[in-house]
């Protein structure tokens, strides 16, 4: 493992995170929240110093960068980002407990939106801004941002591919353009454009400016941190409809938008993942709307609430307009399933992803056919392209790791004594980066009641969910750190 180059990358990550804290600091100053503002100053100064020192220590040295360095950069980078990101909360005293603040920040960066705050409305605006901004940054990924802005010294190097592979969600990752820098810029360009569009729409729906900014951050990253205690329930119906549509857009594969830009409309229409994604949305909405038709006065209201809840859960955002905890079991079961399926690969959303779902169904069908015709040779195809067996193998391994981590987490959390439904939904909601679960951890309550161990387990689950398990697991293996061959 080439420690020096990892150190250099980490120093960049810390420095950029510090720079991103500046607006939050300014906002606190403007509001006269001096204590919080000073907390930011201390943290920013400390981070810049640390980044500088790390960079100087790791200057020079070889630029060898292989898959293990890529995993280490992403795994360590995200952990460090979360540790530093939570310091303003702790130092300002707004979330005095370190573990709580860490949970909240991990929840932000991984775009989960699970909170330990009993009342979000007492938090200062600067802190709310920072909390929301972690969603925006975490959605597309810090390292992808780094690839877009930092000119890498060695132009010939293809090592950036290892980073993109480790950070971007989905069974297989492709570049959009020959140059990594261009790819990263395209991704962030589309992300930025959609974010601005989202903000403008929210403003048209008469949401206050600061709220619109924070809700936009949360929708774009498919996070779910709101600024009011009742999430989105007290905003206008128009704002709620905007927040049905935009998370859906952010939950779609960003290569779809690239295809739209280069005018390959037919490929977009025929994209199997997009079709599955939209089909799940429509069917789930219809089923829930039928199931809860007695709960609201008009059919329009029923449809809006159903569509909102389906969109927010399947894109792994986790807002709410109403207390879904009170819905009938069938609707809750559908929402639980949507938590697992998640959004599309290459999006800002979490979960298993529709792309993997397609692969599971198709390889399952292939296996069944092979039972009937043992000598049959058949390839799994998606969008007409043959999927290599190694991708299928990795996708299957992913499901196994996913199951093991889910079950183990549920077991550990059960020690705290909450109901089975609470525990299961809490793990699924954190692991799949959604946010609120059901029962004790439903939309009206929070995660503060859990023990320290459970909070750390759930933080681990959130990081595993966002980085798709393997970068975090790779960090934990001994061979990643061994100097021996």
């Amino acid at each position: 493992m080439n420690v020096k180059i990892i150190g250099r990358m980490l120093s960049f990550i810390i420095a950029i995170e510090a720079v991103f804290m500046l607006p939050a600091m300014a906002l606190n100053f403007a509001d006269g929240e001096t204590r919080s503002a000073f907390a930011f100053i201390v943290v920013i100064a400390g981070m810049l110093l640390l980044a500088g020192l790390t960079y100087l220590l790791c200057k020079g040295g070889s630029s060898a960068f292989y898959a293990s360095e890529g995993f280490a950069c992403v795994g360590l980078g995200w952990t460090l980002m979360s540790v530093f990101g939570c310091l303003p909360f702790v130092i300002s005293g707004e979330i005095p407990n370190f573990v709580d603040a860490f949970f909240e920040t991990v929840s932000g960066f991984t775009t989960t939106g699970a909170s330990i705050l009993p009342n979000v409305e007492v938090i200062s605006r600067g802190m709310l801004y920072w909390r929301g901004f972690t969603h925006w940054l975490g959605g597309m990924g810090m390292l992808v941002f780094l690839l877009a802005v930092i000119p890498m010294a060695d132009k010939t190097s293809g090592y950036t591919m290892h980073i993109l592979r480790a950070e971007s969600p989905g069974p297989s990752v492709d570049k959009l353009a020959p140059r990594m820098r261009k790819t990263a810029r395209l991704l962030y360009g589309m992300y930025f454009f959609l974010s601005v569009a989202n903000y403008v729409c929210l403003r048209f729906a008469r949401m206050p400016a600061f709220d619109a900014l924070c809700i936009m951050f949360a929708s774009a990253g498919t996070g779910g941190f709101g600024v009011r205690a009742d999430s989105l329930a007290s905003y206008t119906p128009a704002a709620q409809i905007v927040t049905i549509i935009f998370p859906l857009l952010f939950g779609a594969n960003f290569s779809i938008y690239y295809m739209l830009i280069i005018r390959k409309f037919r490929a977009v229409l025929r994209n199997e993942e997009l079709r599955l994604y939209l089909a799940i949305f429509v069917l789930a909405t219809a089923a829930i709307a039928l199931n809860i038709r007695g709960y609201f006065a008009t059919f329009g209201e029923v449809l809006r609430h159903a569509a909102f809840q389906v969109s927010t859960i399947m894109t792994t955002t986790g807002f709410s307009t109403t207390d879904s905890n009170l819905w009938p079991p069938f609707s809750k079961a559908i929402l639980l399933c949507l938590m697992i399926t998640g959004a599309c690969a290459g999006s800002t959303g979490g979960g298993i992803k529709c792309a993997r779902l397609l692969l599971y169904f198709k390889s399952l069908l292939r296996n069944v056919r092979q039972l009937l015709h043992p000598n049959r040779v058949e390839m799994v195809r998606v969008n007409g392209q043959v999927i290599p067996e190694t991708v299928l193998k990795n996708t299957n391994a992913y499901l196994v790791a996913y199951m093991i981590i889910s079950v183990a987490s549920v077991l550990i959390i059960s020690v705290d004594g909450f109901s089975v439904e609470s525990n299961l939904s809490a793990v699924l909601a954190c692991f799949n980066n959604i946010g609120p679960g059901f029962d004790a951890f439903g939309v009206t309550s929070n995660y503060a009641a859990l023990s320290v161990l459970s909070k750390l387990v759930l933080s681990f689950d959130m990081l595993c969910g966002r980085l798709e398990i393997f970068p975090i697991l790779a960090l934990l293996t001994r061979s990643a750190w061994s100097r021996k061959v």
């Binding site: 898959a67 132009k155 010939t156 190097s157 293809g158 591919m161 492709d174 570049k175 020959p178």
Partner: protein
Amino acid sequence: MKIIIAGDGKIGFSLTKQLAAEGHDLTVIDINPKVLDTVQNNFDIMVVCGNCATMDTLQAANIEQADLLIAVSDKDEINLLCCMTAHSINPNLHSIARVRDPEYTNQAYLMCDLMGLSMVVNPERSAAQEISRLLKYPGFLKRDTFVGGRVEIVELKVSAKSPMNGVKIMKLSGVIGCKVLICAIVRAGKCIIPSGMDSLMEGDRVFLTAPSNVLQTLLKNLGVVTKKVRSCLIIGGGRISYYLARNLVSAGIRVKIIEQNHDKCVSLASLLPGVTVVEGDASTQSMLSSEGMELFDSVVSLTGLDELNAMLAMYCSGSVNNIVTKIDRIESTGVLDVLPLGSVIHPKELASNEIVRYVRAMQNQSGAAVTVHSIADSMAEASEFAVTAATRNLGVPLKDIRLKDHVLVACIAHGPTVEIPDGDSVISEGDTVIVVTDGSRVIGQLNDIFE
């Protein structure tokens, strides 16, 4: 520029390496996902898996937007079809195809016209031309020409007995009796761009810039025997051997080819009437002696195995003066430096250099290099630039100009006169200069050399 490389073989890989370093947007097409994975992990490029001659694959590689297509897969027909297909989609495309079957060579120009190809590269023929150039001018390990052939960069090995051994570079002109400039030294596998204070040591490979007309004097003063080559033994009967034998025969050199495969022998014998073709295994000593190896004044080993070529060269080096060894796969020649292999030829490097030169010429509107040769095992680069009014520091003596590190002005041609520069030399508009740099930076324009 946006460049598509179809076929990720030996040439494809070395092209990817060079062109990616120069900042082009590359897309590499190959049918084998494994090699694509490797190339994508090593360079900042995009890859497309598929048959490069199909429209779907080319469109997936975004052929509509591309400036240049380089088809270097292992089949000539695929390469040609690939270029034709690409042309039908994007008529403004420049295309380069590798065509190496001797049967097609005679119609290469016609094919360029018919199929809209910008260039046809034939690595085997380029290698053969390079070898025959070396044999016609023995004594140098490698020669690259600049400024329309009036300046050359030649490679020499410093032996223990050489008058250059142990001499400081600033005193070199006195020792060898003519004005040359040492622009690069390869010592123990590393390339040095030397200053006047460095000394030459035994085992160094030095790269000298000199006007073509002093080369003869140079060799004479160095005590290098330069008897004209009259006979050549070629070991291995592949495509290079065919082109080389044809070249040498037309220059009046007697050629004997030893080849193991009966069918190849028959085809060579029928294609090359004036050449003696011998069927047999050249790796046996008795075979070489019975064919009178020591009577030849040059041996060229061109079998398909690098190891065998090196062994043969070492075996012959005791009794034959001029030896040329073909090396295909071994990348850095650092390990080969200590072996007496004579001139080492890397066909893939030659071909990719040829293509890189074309790519640079495409950019030439912006003042890019006229000619580029990579020297010192690709660890250094010699580029020829035209001096225009936009060039900075015109009329300033070189000693007063601050050049970047590892950059050397190796030669200045003022109209018809060629000057080997010293501190008092000046660059003026209309001149041609040759600049040598080590591999650490790419010089795109002449102004890039100034600090």
